[in-house]
Amino acid sequence: MTILVPGSVPELSGIISEAFETSSPLQLTGNNSKDGFGHVNDGASQVSMAGLRGITLYEPDELVIGAWAGTPLDEIEQALKGEGQQFSFEPMRLDRLYGNDGNPTIGGMTACNLSGPRRIQAGAARDSLIGIEAINGRGEVFKSGGRVMKNVTGYDLVKLMCGSLGTLGAITQVNYKLMPCPETSMTLWIQMYEAEQAVALFHEALKTPFDITGAAYVSGENSGAMLRIEGFEASVRYRINALKQYLSDRLNDHEINEFEGEASHGLWRAIRDVDLLNKDVIKSIWKISTKPSDGARIINAVCREMAASYVMDWAGGLVWLGVHDDLHDGGAAQIRHIVDQLGGHATLIKSTDVVRRTTAIHHPRKSGVALIEKLIKQRFDPANILNPETMGII
């Protein structure tokens, strides 16, 4: 299949206008690092943002960076590292999970509203995104937000575009606010064999004033709960000790280990990128967002019905579920039934092409929300040509 790679905004706008005139569907992509996610959009022409590349603005003193959508994340993170800064939301990488060597772009990160373990403390990409430029389904270029971090001028299309998976427009430029990299990062690893126990631990830990920036649980061989604290070294050491003391008073006979520096980073990178579910035995991977207290309940209910592995992040509020059974819908019906009873939503992240063609990737929305989504989609993309069906907006 031909992939169009426009090198300028007018060129991209021309491609979209023409597709609008002829009602021809387009599949918007970056470097295809997430190829394997979403519906299989047969028949759509691929348009890659990779030709729109480069950092447009970087003011370390103002904690702001801007870039063209096709700029590789590596290039941006390299620049940030040079100034001791980072995206606070710890964007996850999906290329390894999908077995792609594509180099993820900042536009793809934005369109997917990616984040990582620090989501519980620092928000997702949508919370740091402060400005966008995009092209709607008529080929018209529009902008929202800007380059300053406090801005309530007009409707917040920045949030709306973030995570819209290219269904409302082709994002061409983005501006993000930044955070300084913490001087020190330390992790407490607490041996634990039950997800419920971990959730109870997270409830307690997050009621403390120690500003926890990661709370995850892994099952299996090295089953345990992890809690992360970051900041200036003296402060981190103080808070880690205080937290350890607080938890020791509540836990009996649980082995507690400390990790810091690269050892700590490595643990969280593996959680962030779902490395533990990246194995052949797993046929379908689900991302379930729920109330933290329901994370373990969902895991237990699903595991009663099918063979599955899991990782729990966001203090229980995010469950990564790897289904071992070769089910025709990847487990959608059973998993969504369980999630609907407790509240939350389940997204199919990875499965076979057959399952992806026949199963709703995104959790069906309730009628009121579905109505609003449809009304908005019509106004941004009246001919329904941009990533049609991608988000299950009907």
Partner: protein, 495 residues
């Protein structure tokens, strides 16, 4: 009344006033409808006091169902609706329409659910900002956004304007601390968006609703994130002999990787007025004052303050004063948070709300002085220095119509300067009616059309807060007849 216009009132609605009042009285419990002219006067303005407009009638519903009935009726009969929280908008966001009703949410003020394990609270939309924090304070939690009007302002208004506050440098603004809303669309449809989990499926409708100034629907309930309080907090004051020294000091602190919870700035005129009011111990003989607050345990606070003081020393501060007690800290914040009120004791003022890239600070302050001098008006500057959100207060005499017009023109030039240097018209107060006609300086026709298309999709007759946000010229033709969005039903979703 000065230059800003509201849409031409519909004479047929004005003629039907009694019929409308009667219909509302019939659908709502006794005491919910305020129709006498005297009682309606209390709702004819918000905190943008230069503008007053008597509404047709005021309704104070107590439930989401009542809001749904009211909106369905207004939709069917083409009656404009202006939602109102506590009426603290400085941008005229709650200014009534002459041919419309004001729907106040003040009687919906119950806390519905507190969930410490999941760190959220579900409240009715009329709860005040401060009451949310007060409700959980004893348990060591708080709600982070803290606008200066937090004693009075409601979460409904905070959501409508995406309000910020002094501490949003670390904790973010309303949109970063909101998990869900129950919203009533113009045709009465009740929709639940989000809930107790961190992100909702599909498009980020919560992000869209936040900051939409009551134009897309009326929020009746909110689920907000609550956070565990830090062990302690302490402010330190720095006085500088120039704005530029203060500006460079802020940049150096952030450049060193320190993000204090707040960095507040006041210039000489603001310092004098606030000190006279709050007796906060502010130094009076400096050009610029920074209040920098850090959080943590005592040793952590001491460590951070030492580092900040060390960095500030390179910028030649005239005064360094670390708070020595809880009482002193409280007085320091009282001075800052009551700044607008204190200023109001000495003069009328227009409070601007532009944001600029922080590197532009000294140049923009100079520009503001130049503009105000040109108009012969005094200005006091108070702002959130860490994020570049400026609040120049332009002083004028409200009894002199000529001076009001001058103050408005002066304010407009100040905001245009903010946009010119890469900033925006409003950082946390909202567009309302005040900045409506300046929107074209920040957005082109396509940008505005894209925003307005959402308004038209969700409110085809443009009945919800119709006079605000978008310039009256260049609006799409609005539907003349009610367009059903869908049949009325409450999906009964749990939050």
């Amino acid at each position: 009344m000065s230059g800003l216009l509201l849409p031409e009132p519909d004479q047929s609605l004005l003629d039907k006033r009694e019929e409308i009042v009667l219909a509302l009285e019939n659908m709502l419990p006794a005491g919910s409808v305020i129709s006498s002219e005297n009682a309606r006067r209390a709702y004819d303005a918000d905190a943008l006091t230069a503008y007053k407009q008597l509404p047709l009638v005021v309704v104070l519903p107590q439930t989401t169902q009542e809001v749904s009935l009211i909106l369905a009726y207004c939709h069917k009969n083409g009656i404009p609706v202006v939602a109102r929280g506590a009426g603290t908008s400085l941008a005229g966001g709650a200014l009534p329409a002459a041919d419309g009703i004001v729907l106040g949410v003040s009687r919906m003020s119950k806390v519905l659910e507190v969930d410490f394990d999941n760190r959220f609270m579900r409240v009715e939309a009329g709860v005040t900002n401060l009451n949310i924090s007060n409700h959980v304070e004893a348990d060591g939690f708080f709600y982070a956004p803290d606008p200066s009007s937090q004693l009075a302002c409601t979460i409904a208004g905070n959501i409508a304007m995406n309000s910020g506050g002094a501490h949003c440098l670390k904790y973010g603004v309303t949109t970063n601390n909101l998990l869900g809303v129950r919203i009533v669309l113009i045709d009465g449809t009740i929709v639940d968006i989000g809930g107790g989990h961190l992100d909702a499926p599909g498009l980020d409708l919560l992000g869209l609703v936040t900051g939409s100034e009551g134009q897309l629907g009326i929020v009746t309930e909110a689920t907000v994130r609550i956070l565990a309080k830090s062990e302690g907090a302490k402010p330190v004051l720095f006085g500088f002999q120039s704005a530029s020294a203060a500006g460079h000091c802020v940049a150096a602190i952030i450049g060193a990787g320190i993000i204090p919870v707040a960095i507040e700035y006041m210039d000489r005129p603001a310092i004098r007025v606030c000190e006279a009011y709050a007796k906060a111990g502010y130094p009076l003989d400096v050009e610029a004052l920074l209040i920098i607050e850090v959080e943590g345990s005592d040793p952590e606070i001491d460590y951070l303050i030492d580092r900040i003081v060390e960095i500030a020393a390179d910028h030649d501060p005239a005064v360094i004063k670390v708070s020595q007690s809880e009482a002193e800290s409280a007085a320091i914040w009282k001075g800052r948070k009551s700044a607008f009120g204190a200023m109001g004791r000495i003069a009328d003022y227009m409070c601007m709300d532009g944001t600029i890239p922080t590197g532009q600070l000294p140049d923009v302050l100079e520009g503001i002085s130049r503009i105000c001098e040109k108009y012969g008006l005094q200005v006091a500057n108070i702002f959130h220095a860490g994020d570049g959100n400026l609040h120049p207060l332009i002083l004028y005499n409200a009894n002199d119509p000529d001076e009001l017009r001058k103050a408005e023109q002066c304010g407009a030039e100040v905001l245009e300067l903010c946009v010119e240097v890469g900033g925006c018209l409003t950082g946390e107060h909202g567009v309302g009616i005040e900045k409506r006609d300046l929107m074209t300086s920040q957005f082109n026709a396509v940008d505005l059309a894209q925003q307005m298309s959402i308004k038209s999709a969700l409110d085809p007759q443009w009945l919800l807060n119709p006079g605000k946000v978008f310039p009256l010229n260049g609006r799409p033709a609005r539907a003349k007849k009610p367009v059903p969005l869908q049949r009325h039903e409450h999906e009964g979703a749990e939050i």
